[in-house]
Symmetry: D3
């Protein structure tokens, strides 16, 4: 299900802001690719980037979701962690329910050891203090202590899900930075990353101009003169 | 997937309130079987009762959810309506999104003609005026005109879903009345219906006593004397 | 704790709209006397009016709030119903929690039989169909089936509470109509009722003028000429 | 600012559902023309239709919004009611604040007498009982008694506003039915009304087929055979 | 009202995560002991732990809640701060209202000087900058500047309350860490603390195994071999 | 439209907490001057202070809000940034919509270069990481990546607006600190700043007393003896 990205796409996406990506996608008619209510826990060196592996929960039912279920290694939450591929981002659909945790330190540690690129949930995380200090990108709706069995029943790995109000299909490219998380359909990732990287390169130039006192007019967006200046600058650098 | 109910269970459930059912289930440890935010549209003669057929939506994506998709008879929303069995209740998981409709008059009419027992969604319905007048039980989060493609992408029929914050598995028994909608695990339906029917029979007696001026004390809940009076009344009636 | 109202105050309040009462109270500096999120269930002949008896719930705890608690006639919910005085309105503080019911048909029937003037809760009611048809004024946040023990632990009768975001002290005068519920401090009820009744009498006259084609200017609010016309009309009628 | 509609457009719009209009607009790329959280108060014979006159409120400030302000006939709320043109719909931007009323019986009566086509607010209305019985279409977020001065400061007539999350420019065509309220840019009204009327005419035919037992497949949406049958039916009727 | 904890319980609770406590309580049937919407302000060295002293507010009323009330040393808010026992946690029931502050720097300083173990409110705090830097654990719904009199009327010290959706009885053991705040019924504190401490000890061992590359399978939860390894490790350490 | 502040008012307001300002305004009858849901992004050395320049958005419409609109230097968002006066605070009315950004790094940089005192929005900001590190005070509802055209249509500069539920008129004095943002009507700024500065000076003294072990009684609020001690301390310092 995972489509191959060009080698440079991954590298581009590590350094392109989710803001720029939403603009590039807006130009293609996509208005709903940014997860609502999902925030970075801790700090990031570079963007989190990787294809999505998905896990879906439905509301818990008291007879099904008792403490004994974790003894079964086939429990979907545990299996999702144990089978996520290196470089992938595990994305959990918690229906935006923030009353309980959808994971904790041991699961995040296992994901990190297994080489996952990060974890995203529209639910909460427990052990939020230790996780925020791990060098492993996690995005969630906030901290919460109670175990997931109180509200969540895990049902499916690698089906299509919603997370933060956005459709996520397995293999979609997930990008996270300080502003939050964007979902790129896999087939568009190469093209959008290239365009967005070019846009960011130019905006870095425009920012130096604005910092130096240039007016927005003619600079942002750039008029022909500014574009020419950028091309000259790009040629030199 | 559908478990057989005893013949009398269906009849019982047509006349037992969802209130009584939640109490019977609470005694068994179930606290979360009543859908939140889902209301009756129009009026009911008797309760809506039937096994669940499920339809799941995830958030829409602009490239996938264009007006052309309905031309495909395999589109899950249309297929769910066209394949739901007679006597079943179609239950839609709209993630509680109330910004658009998840169905309208023509689909509800087709469900009715095909013999469905009713329809439940935690999204909205369009054509709410005509639907409220149809003799077909519908429960939703309210009226809304916009077509579902703006917010919903239909993905799956007869998988486990959440609706109104409650887990719904295909074949679960769905019961709806003026207060709203309750989900009974199929395996418990016979036993719970029998117990609840007995409870309601006694409460009808208790209500006559309360109307006649009896104090709650000794009557609700009944003490031994009141229970004896009830047994005598039951024997006579 | 209940202050005596003048005999005519009760009669006035049966026919004055809560809208007019909020205006009269606004003139005295009160901005927060209308309950938010509390609606009439069913229909009203005349306003619900009476001094408040209060019942307070806190969140339920699983060990305390089991099905057995109702066997105790001293349980505060049952005692509140059984001891509310004739003519009083029972007001329940459910912290605005709408996930469960805070009462049902048997309790409402007992309140009616005991002569209560009505019932108000910022939680929900079960058996909402039958209750809506009873000739007993009830105001709530909507219908919901689950029993109160799932979310509520009753703790106190006739203490100060909040309901719908408004402070309610036992003995405060509660008035309910189609728009909702207003709380009047007992000491102000006579004065406010008299002023509001006079205001409504004049507005009835103004409405006839507006219906007859008068402009708002000079009519609403009335200028001297309109006031004189009103006085003449009042003298005649 | 008001663009002329074709004579038949007004008549079409009186009988086309807002559901059909949102679909016609979706085909043109408009996804956000249906007001969220705005409901019909009372009943409608035919749709409410008319060009928008707008009124904007900002949050109240205690020194500016005292009871004396209504003595000024130039107060924007009163002036908006007094100057709205016959056939227009007065649309109020209350920022979705439901804690107070944005109008009451006298103002609605004056609007009706002056020939307004209806009134829409994303705030609440007081005197909701009498207004629901008036033969004047009103749409609001619900009933609420407190006067608007507690939360609203009226600032502008006939500027661009938001209402129920939708942009409304003066002169936009407002259409309201059981499902709620749709806003059509004036320049599109003729074209959209014509297309939607044709669509509804065909759907009336399709509904008879569905009621007669036709499958969705081939009927909804119609295949070539069904379209031909419709054309034949249309020619006859 | 305060039950004695075993000496080691306090020490255990300083180092056990609220996550582990919710799991231990879940095993005993408690699903609702974690406060929703209540977050740590600033940083913690060790957990906040102590028996609860409670303060309850109802909605403010303009005539009662004027600036003069604080001149009265018997005002419940001031008295609660002045009488809270050393080692206790002051817990305030603000009905989750986040529009104003429920305390500020001077009150928090006084609590600290008097030896309180911390403060929890489901409302907000003002002076959030200075308080976040104090070495005094505070948990709240966020920062907010306005004084409490705008929204809160203090009514009772050491009654049962709700805070963050959880029942709190005076003397209940309050534990707060990075994830938030848990409420333990006093009678269960010793037993739960002991069990949770043992669980955390084992999880520390399991985490080292996971960090070293062990699969979840057999490790989390531990199978017999892992448990034996843990026992050996425990015996040595 | 901007009223002159006394020279010392600006200096006072840089060091007075928004908490103290809300109390001073409460004494004058103002209860709603603190923006709800608007938080500091990053850190502040001293308070943000300046007269308001306003920008108003209404909901976006797909035909009007396409990517091309920024090419027009007269676009209100760009013009607001380009024309805001030095020392002013740009305040944006985003109707509390947090689904998209209302600005980003380049616009904030331009505002800073142009000498603006800060920026406030009840929407979100993109590029939240870089902005949080800029030495330019920004207050918003949180980070969000999508461009404003998805949800916002800019319509007006320097009209009256609502922001965070508070009325803002151009020229009102905006003050922001760790707790959030307060709006002072320009005509009251001098008087309120002087009173609040005096209050804070005394509270600094009271805090030293509380830290030294003084009881709230007699200290906070101060009795005559404490006031005398404060006057003596003030005379010395």
């Amino acid at each position: 299900m995972t489509q191959e990205m060009k080698p440079e796409t991954l590298e581009h996406l590590r350094h392109i802001s989710t803001a720029t990506l939403t603009t590039a996608m807006f130009k293609r008619g996509f208005r709903n690719i940014f997860m609502q209510g999902v925030r970075l826990l801790g700090r990031l060196e570079a963007n989190m980037v990787g294809p999505a592996t998905t896990l879906r929960y439905i509301p818990a039912r008291e007879d099904l979701d008792h403490i004994g279920v974790f003894a079964d290694p086939a429990h979907p939450q545990r299996r999702a962690v144990e089978t996520a591929k290196a470089g992938h981002v595990l994305v959990m659909d918690c229906r935006g329910n923030t009353s309980v945790a959808s994971g904790g330190e041991i699961l995040m540690t296992r994901l990190k050891v297994r080489g996952a690129a990060g974890m995203v949930t529209d639910g909460c995380l427990r052990d939020s203090g230790p996780i925020a200090k791990m060098e492993f990108p996690t995005f969630c709706a906030g901290p919460s202590a109670p175990l997931n069995l109180i509200a969540h029943h895990a049902v499916e790995i690698d089906g299509p899900i919603g997370c933060g109000g956005v459709a996520v299909f397995p293999g979609d490219i997930i990008v996270g930075d300080c502003d939050g998380v964007v979902v790129l359909p896999a087939a568009l990732a190469d093209e959008v990353a290239a365009e967005a990287a070019a846009q960011e390169h130019m905006e870095a130039f425009l920012l130096t101009r604005i910092e130096a006192g240039a007016s927005l007019r003619g600079t942002y967006p750039p008029d022909d003169a500014t574009r020419a200046a950028y091309e000259a600058w790009k040629a030199k650098s």
